[in-house]
């Protein structure tokens, strides 16, 4: 992660241009906004964004990633700088570890269990304990990725049903639906998941790890970066489910923040802005890290998680997935 630099959230249609070796963002209303290039860590485009090659080469040279989310909040793709931190040693080890079925599934199981425990932590209810217990007993018997993912799916379904009990009726999930999400709650979760994925990907880009060589998700999973999907798992509860619960309690979101149609829902422009502000604030929340003996932000936690994998590759340090300790 670059020492300085912020994430910029483009929630409105705009055009990114290069000006004076820096970036200018033109919006339909108001004067252009000039952003110092050294202050950008990455850009997240929620809406239509025009960008040309000279701006992109500018972004690339300064190590800026541009994430693009589609209308329903799915991660549509990203533009990332030419690899500058590539390391053959790390990638070779990463491939070796992921090619060994035993090690691969061991890490996959750890990730699923961590995600489940984090979800239990985020929902803060003992209604999930039986499901978690059965996950703990069933997981060691899972021999391949599909079986592990199946267990994960079972647990998630239970967890979402439990989450529904904590939400107002209009925000309930009533079963998880994707591509496109069918109701407001699902649209929210999809959006947050895509954002977490983007954050993990940004963190991975600052390490020599290859984001497409993962442990848990199968390699053919819509040709996405499976390592980023894997690493996003333990963080999703921290952001998606927890923020959904919190916004519901604080009534920060209204039905008008969603564009609901028959059988599909997405966030309105205003809703996107609200969520961007929400996530930005959440990412900068700090907690005291007991090993580092200093405060780290949630954003940095994701980066530390990526570094754990580097350590697994280079030093064979056992990988323990992220678990909130506070």
């Amino acid at each position: 992660m670059p020492a300085a630099g912020r994430t910029y959230w483009l929630t409105e249609p705009c055009r990114i241009r290069r000006e004076d070796n820096s970036i200018r963002v033109e919006r339909p209303d108001g004067s252009p906004v000039r952003i110092p290039i050294t202050d950008i860590r990455d850009l997240i485009a929620f809406d239509h964004v025009d960008v040309n090659t000279s701006a992109m080469s500018m972004l690339s040279r300064n190590g800026v990633t541009l994430h693009i989310l589609d209308h329903y909040g799915n991660h549509a793709g990203h533009f990332s700088p030419a690899e500058s931190v590539a390391s053959a040693a790390v990638i070779r080890r990463q491939v070796e570890i992921t090619a060994d079925p035993d090690r691969r599934t061991a890490i996959g199981r750890a990730l699923v269990l961590a995600a489940a425990e984090n979800l239990r932590w985020a929902l803060d209810t003992d209604l999930l304990d039986p499901a978690l217990q059965s996950l703990r007993t069933d997981l060691p018997d899972c021999k391949d990725d599909d079986a592990i993912m199946g267990q994960e799916g079972n647990f998630r379904r239970t967890a979402w049903a439990v989450l529904d009990t904590q939400l107002p009726p209009w925000l309930r999930l009533n079963g998880r639906t994707r591509r496109p999400p069918t109701n407001a709650g699902n649209a929210f979760i999809s959006y947050l998941n895509a954002l977490v994925y983007a954050r993990v990907l940004t963190a991975l880009r600052s390490t020599p790890l290859h984001p497409a060589i993962g442990f848990l998700h199968s390699d053919t999973d819509r040709r996405r970066n499976t390592l980023a999907l894997d690493l996003a798992e333990p963080f999703k509860p921290l952001f998606a489910e927890r923020l959904l619960k919190r916004t519901a309690h604080q009534r920060a979101l209204k039905p008008t923040d969603f564009e609901t149609d028959v059988g599909r829902a997405s966030l309105s422009t205003n809703g996107r802005k609200k969520i961007a502000a929400l996530v930005r604030e959440e990412l900068s929340t700090t907690v005291h890290h007991r090993t580092l003996k200093r405060k780290v932000s949630y954003e940095e936690l994701i980066h530390l998680e990526a570094l754990k994998l580097v350590r697994l590759c280079l030093e064979d340090t056992p990988y323990k997935p992220f678990h909130p300790w506070w």
């Binding site: 820096s22 919006r27 906004v33 110092p36 802005k273 961007a276």
Partner: protein
């Protein structure tokens, strides 16, 4: 570090100084910039400015602190600075 930069340069060099500053800092007001920089970035900015200005006529002042939390700011009238990082 958090940097506040104020420049007072001859008219013909103003655009050059402005463009150099834009690369590193956020525009806050006419001839005032601020933003967070690393030490290396700060040094690069200062070097770039040094080659731009005429040391006998122009003047650039920077104020630096460890973080923006250490400065209280009050704005009267119009806030000219940018809209933050949610655009």
């Amino acid at each position: 570090m958090f940097v506040i930069l104020v420049y007072d340069t001859a008219v013909e060099r103003n655009p050059k100084v402005l463009k150099t500053c834009r690369k590193y800092l956020h525009w806050t007001q006419r001839s005032v910039f601020q933003g967070e920089l690393s030490t290396a970035q700060y040094r690069a900015l200062i070097t770039a400015l040094r080659t731009t200005i005429d040391p006998d006529y122009d003047s650039i002042v920077t104020y630096t602190t460890r973080s923006p939390d250490m400065i209280d700011t009050t704005t009267l009238g119009v806030a000219l600075g940018g809209p933050g990082d949610i655009l």
